[in-house]
Amino acid sequence: MREYAIRRLAGAAVVVALVSIIVFILMHLLPGDALLTKLGETGRIPEDQMDELRAKMGIDDPLYVQYFRWVGDIFDGSMGESLIYDGREVSGRIMDAAPVTLELGLLAMAAAMVIGVPLGVIAAIRQDGPIDYLCQAIALTGLSVPSFLIGLLVIIYGTLHFGYRPPREYIGLTEDPIGNLKQMAIPVLILGYGLAASIMRMTRSTVLETLRQDYTRTARAKGLAARVVVWRHVLRNALIPVVTMAGNQAAFILSGALIIEILFIMPGLGQLTYTAIIQRDYTQVQGNALVVAAIVVLVNLVVDLSYGLIDPRIRYG
C-alpha cells in the first residue's frame, strides 16, 4: 500500500509538472509579449526603451530560463505578478477566488450524490417500469442540456415569473453564512443536476448488476426484507464504482463551476480566469490553470488511494 501510494504520488507530480509545461508553452505561443500587454494599446514608447524594459522584466531571456524562473516563483509561493494589476501576486488573487469555486463544487457534488444515488436505486429496483423510464429521461436530459443553458433559462424565467434575481454582489461564507448559502442554492442545484444525471445512471447500472449476484439472492433467501437487502447488501457494493466515478468527475465539476460562476457573477476561479483571459493577463491565466489542474490531480489521487479503504477486495500491486 505504501509503495503504491508513493508511486502514485510521484506519478501525480509528473502530471502536474507536464501541465505546467503545457500551459507555459501555450501562453507563449500567443502573439505579442507581456510588455505589449502591460502597455496596452495606448502606451507606445520608443523601441530602445522597450528593449530595456523587456530586459528588466526578464522576458528577453530564452524560454527555458523564463520557465524555470516561473517554477521558482511557484515554489516561493507568489506564482509571479499579475501583468495588469501592478504588485498583485498571482497566488494572492487565486487564494481569494478559490474558496468560492471549491464551495460551489463541493456543494454541487453533495447535492448530486443526494439526488443521484436514491434515484438510481429506485430506477434499478423498478427496472423497465414507468418510474425507471422517467428517471432515465431526467438523467439523459441532465447529460444533454449544458448547465449554463439551464442557468440562463432559470435566470430568464425566474426573473420573469418567480421574482428571482441573480445576486449582484457576492456574500462571503464567513461574513454571512446563511445569506451565502441562500445565494449558492440555485447555482449549486444547476451544477449538481448534470452531475446527478451521470451518478444516477452509474448507480442504476451497478445496482442492477449487484441485484443479480449470488450474495443478494442468499440474503433474500435467508428471509431478509427487500429493503434491508437493498440498503445494506446491494448499495454498499454498488456504490464503490459510483464513488470512483464521482471523484474522477473533478475536472468536469470545476469546468461546470467556472461557467456557472461567470453566469451568476460569483468571484471564483472561473470569473478570475475569464477576466484574465479577456485582459490578456497571461501570468494570471497560467497560474490559474496550474492550480485548477493540481486540484484535479489531487482529488483523483485521493479517490484512487481511498478506493482500497472502501473495498477491502482491492489489493495494490
Binding site: V16, L18, P146, R201
Partner: protein
C-alpha cells in the same frame, strides 16, 4: 437455363433484404434510438441545405423589425438586429454539427493512434503518452479551451482543433485499455508468428477488434463537442460574429434582451438540447447493441 435466369433477380434481392430487415428489427428493438437517429438525420439535412431551406438571410440586418416575437412570418421571432432567428438556427446547425463531428472525429482518431501505439508498444513510449494524456485530462476542459481559444484565433477550424484536443485523451485511454486486452489474444500471437509486421498486426488485427468501444466513445464525443462549442460560443470565444452559431446566439442578444425576448435564448437552447439528447439516445442504443456489458452505464 431459364430457371436460373428467373432466379437471378431473387438472388440479388435477398442480397439486399437482410440489411433492410436488420435496420427494421433494430428500429423495433430500439425504437427510441431509431427515433433519435431520425431527428439527427433531419438536423443534418437542415444543416446541409440551410442556404436553401432558411426563409431569410441569417445575417441580414433589418432594424425596422427588431425583437419581433414569433409570428407566421418569423417562426422563431427576430433578434436585436432584426435578423430571423429560425434562419440563424438553421445556419448555426452547420457550425455545431461541423464542430461536433469534426472535433469528435479528429480527437478520436488522434486518440486511437496514441492509444494503439502506447498499448501495443508498451514500455517508455506507453508511459510517456499516458502521462501527457493525464496532464491534458487534468486541465478542466473549459480552462484548456479558453486558453486554446485565446491562443488560436476564433475560426471554425481552430475551435474544432481545440475541442479535438479535449476529446483525444479519453479516446486514447479507452483504446489503450482495449488494446492491452486484445494483445494477449492468440490471434495476435498467430499473426506475429507468421511474420506480420507490428504495424500490420496493429492496424489489420488489433484495431478492428477494438472498434466497439471506439464507436461508442466517438458517438458520445459528438454530443460533448457540440456542448463545448456552445459553451465557448456562450463565452464569446467561438467562431466570430456575425456568423451564427448556437452558442454565440446565447451569448449576444439572449442575455441583454432576455426579459423582452426570451425566445432568443429558448430557440438556440432547444436546438442544442434536442440535438445532444438525440445523440446521447443514439449512443445508448449503439452501446446496448455493441457492448451489452455496459448496458445503461456511462464509463
Amino acid at each position: 437455363m431459364s430457371a436460373i435466369a428467373s432466379d437471378l433477380p431473387r438472388v440479388i434481392d435477398t442480397g439486399l433484404r437482410p440489411r433492410n430487415r436488420r435496420l427494421l428489427s433494430l428500429a423495433r428493438r430500439k425504437p427510441l434510438a431509431a427515433g433519435a437517429g431520425l431527428v439527427l438525420v433531419v438536423v443534418c439535412v437542415v444543416a446541409l441545405f440551410a442556404p436553401v431551406l432558411a426563409p431569410f438571410d441569417p445575417n441580414e440586418v433589418q432594424l425596422g423589425s427588431r425583437l419581433l416575437s414569433p409570428s407566421s412570418e418569423h417562426w422563431l421571432g427576430t433578434d436585436e438586429f432584426g435578423r430571423d432567428v429560425l434562419s440563424r438556427i438553421m445556419h448555426g446547425a452547420r457550425v455545431s454539427l461541423a464542430a461536433g463531428l469534426g472535433a469528435a472525429g479528429l480527437g478520436t482518431a488522434a486518440g486511437v493512434v496514441f492509444g494503439l501505439l502506447g498499448g501495443y508498444i508498451g514500455g517508455f513510449v506507453d508511459l510517456a503518452i499516458q502521462r501527457v494524456m493525464d496532464a491534458l485530462m487534468a486541465l478542466p476542459p473549459i480552462i484548456l479551451l479558453m486558453v486554446l481559444a485565446t491562443v488560436l484565433s476564433p475560426s471554425l477550424q481552430n475551435v474544432v482543433f481545440a475541442i479535438a484536443i479535449f476529446v483525444m485523451p479519453s479516446a486514447s485511454r479507452v483504446v489503450r485499455g482495449a488494446v492491452l486486452a486484445e494483445k494477449e489474444m492468440v490471434y495476435v500471437l498467430a499473426a506475429q508468428s507468421i511474420g506480420a509486421s507490428p504495424k500490420r498486426v496493429m492496424v489489420r488485427h488489433v484495431l478492428p477488434n477494438t472498434m466497439a468501444p471506439i464507436i461508442i466513445l466517438a458517438s458520445i464525443a459528438v454530443g460533448s463537442a457540440i456542448i463545448i462549442e456552445a459553451a465557448l460560443g456562450f463565452l464569446g470565444l467561438s467562431v466570430r460574429p456575425p456568423a451564427a452559431t448556437w452558442g454565440t446566439m446565447l451569448n449576444t442578444g439572449a442575455q441583454t434582451y432576455m426579459e423582452q425576448a426570451p425566445w432568443l435564448a429558448v430557440a438556440p437552447g432547444l436546438a442544442i438540447g434536442v440535438t445532444v439528447f438525440s445523440i446521447n439516445l443514439l449512443g445508448d442504443g449503439l452501446r446496448d447493441i455493441l457492448d451489452p456489458r455496459l448496458r445503461g452505464s456511462r464509463g
